[in-house]
Amino acid sequence: MSIRRRRFIQGSAAVGGSLVLGVNLTGCGPTPLPHAASADLQPNAFLQLSPDGQITLQLHKSEMGQGTYTGMATMAAEELNMPPSMLHIEQAQFHPDFIDPDFYVMLTGGSSSIRTSFEPLRKAAASLAYLLRSAAAEQAGVDIATVMLRDGNVYIGDLEVKPASLIDRARQQELPEEVPLKAARDYRFIGKHNARLDARAKVTGQADFGLDAQYPGALSAVLVRCPHFGGSLKSFDASAALASPGVEQVLEVDGAVAVLAGNYWQARQAANKISVEWNKGPLAGVSSRALRAQRHELAKTEEGKQVEEVGEASAAVGERFEAFYDVPLLAHATMEPMNALAVASDDGIEIWSGMQGVQLALDAVERATGIERSRIRLHNHFLGGGFGRRIQNDYVVEAARIAQLSGKPVRLVWSREDDTRHDFYRPDATALMAATIDGDSISSMQIKAVAPSIFGQFLPLMTRSLLPRWLPSGIHDGIGDMAAGSDPSASEGLIHTPYNFAYKRSNYVMQDVSAPLGYWRSVGHSQNAFFMEGFIDELAHQTNKNPLDFRLANMDPESRHFAVLSKAAELADWGNPPAGQYQGLAVHESFGSVVAEVVNVSADGGRIRVHKVTCVVDCGQVINPDIVVGQMQSGINFGLTAALKGEITLEDGAVQQSNFHDYQLLRINESPEIDVHILPSTNPPSGVGEPGTPPVAPALANAIFAATGQRLRELPLRLS
């Protein structure tokens, strides 16, 4: 049995950086439905009708700005035929029915929420609607076809029936095998509803973020961690800290030093008085500069793993043209620093925090504390930004351990400096991009991507959630090692490209020395779109073609890429920028959506100024159009921050940046006009939260080339 359980990696068929695992969950009995109240009608885990008439939606995805709170409500409300604002929305606890089909755990990421919930959530809502209609029909002795739901009531002809009065009878009804769903032409809210249901709470200060959770008598905790990744605590002297005002306790917690005080300020002041000695650990002496040089060397000397080959190598005729592209480590820099409130008692442990991976956090807390999971209760909150950072649960575990070891209720709050220096970073990566040019056409493209592996670091954490807990931890680490050589996120966006050159090959070389890595908005696409679309632009110029014409000539005219790029060029008036401005463009597919962006830039006096970004997106069926617009604008500003500013560097295995003065984010005075257009589509919904980010860095670099003649191949972009 244990041997067969090892055979669960299904290869590199992952889409969009997602982890594709097949697992056999153990055959425990059914988990009780969330919000379980015996008087409720609970046809499934997603929805409940209470005797007071309230319909509750369990929000099984984390709201971190991407709009899933409104989107989920819109999809459920459509089948209940009521305005989304009528639903009561609760942050869901873990339940097996909330497991994401892409990730095999309950997790919010990979721009998957709307896409993977579109069918199941509408079916869950349609089931509740059907039970109510069926009960009303039975009660009135009429055909179900004459019964309908509208705006919170059940109607039999003109006769209005309160849904709550049907609860008992509805429980006795049987669902048909296939509950019918509304046809798209009948949608009242999908594709139309724009108002964000969380807006009022978020403009009045009432939205409940993890940092806002309250518990009587909770102390504030700060943690002093080793600045060198993988290092350890040698010794510390807390005598001055203990004498500092408001301090209640100082204790060692798993190789770090925790300070507990009456408020955050007191805890932070005291923490600054602790003198600590660290062992620097395995990254002592390692710098970003050295790691970059090592990647260039690896690109020249190692073949790595071939992840794509299309066509015959013999087609690669003509003159070889190649270029190195580079990107640095990046921090997520969510506006809300990491935090969690934890209370340990004889009954177990209760935690309030903002998490993208509730189930992973549950398992991690169980492992770290030894407290059985049935005695761990996690409350999720609005996330003050996620971008992939809160898939990790280090901060949740820290709070749990401090609460457990101190025996006190604690609110752990990271400083901005902690947040910048102890992130799980977007990998620093290099690509050796090469092509063969045969006369005025491209006969091949051959890519070698060199980067450390997020997958290799993250997979052991995943498998600990997926596999039986009695498996020794060595197996999990072994799985990580096994997977690392074929990290799908390292190559996403470099393979399956729209360009139909006669021969295409893509290899991945893993760099095995690395800072902690994580999933950063658009993951591998965040660097690979820059590599690919920057290099494609170079090839256009190498063959004296207009960058737009070159792209269109090398892709299928029937493809979504062709349609999206053509539309973007048209709307941006490609080729006719305002006086003094220059244009660049890029098109990229990620998370099932295709986005093209045209950037208008000026570079007077060596100063890059982005004036306008025109964005066209094909994301399939749209649920909330204005949220899609907002996500494209958001993704573009996020990508511009990386293109113009973002850079985390290591020295001696420690991050050198600390706060917003040396890890700068785009501000309003630097933010361009952003014009977003959504292409209509009858395809199912695809990703929205991330796909706006990848194209903007290459489009900007290409515009800078147009403006200055300088081909910038490294982020952040710096004119020489």
Binding site: A201, V203, G205, Q214, E336, P625, G630, N659, F660, V676
Partner: protein, 168 residues
């Protein structure tokens, strides 16, 4: 510890606290009012913006002793006694400005102060007044539009005019 007194959202507050404590932590940890946010602790991001006598300040790096005898307004203080929202808050809702929402208390406090001193700001005025407030979600386009709408009077604002439609 010293007893300090100031006005918070129109109400008298008196409390014993180290006078060097940043106002942010007095508001959040001592008074348990959580609408004002912690972002950087160095006055670099604006998430903690509140008003001191109507002027925006970064409460994370403003010692509470500076508030003694003064009037402090937080995001909670923008809502009137009947629960009615400030026109800037209304404009924020109409334009779907908030995404994660964490920075928006600070953004709104800065915008309210801007409109108090400059009822018809240009884009350049908005950039100058709002560049101390970072939004990691990048809601800047919508912030600009919402400030202009609030300046024009929310009652005249047509929410349909700026809403996205799926169009070819």
């Amino acid at each position: 510890m010293t007893s300090l007194a100031f006005t918070l959202n129109g109400k008298a507050v008196e409390l014993d606290v180290d006078p060097s404590t940043p106002l942010l932590w007095v508001i959040r940890d001592e008074l348990a009012m959580t609408g004002t946010k912690f972002g950087c602790g160095m006055g670099l991001c604006g998430a903690c913006t509140v008003h001191l006598n109507g002027n925006p300040i970064r409460s994370c790096s403003f010692p509470v002793q500076g508030a003694v005898g003064q009037a402090i307004t937080t995001i909670e203080g923008l809502v009137d006694e009947q629960g009615g929202l400030h026109p800037v808050q209304e404009a924020w809702i109409e334009h779907n400005v908030p995404q994660c929402g964490y920075c928006q208390s600070g953004q709104i406090m800065s915008a309210v102060a801007l409109l108090e001193s400059n009822p018809q700001p240009s884009d350049a005025d908005i950039d100058a007044a709002m560049s101390g407030n970072i939004c990691r979600c990048g809601t800047y386009s919508k912030i600009r539009a919402a400030i202009h709408a609030a300046a024009a009077g929310v009652q005249h604002y047509d929410p349909q005019a700026n809403k996205a439609e799926v169009a070819s």
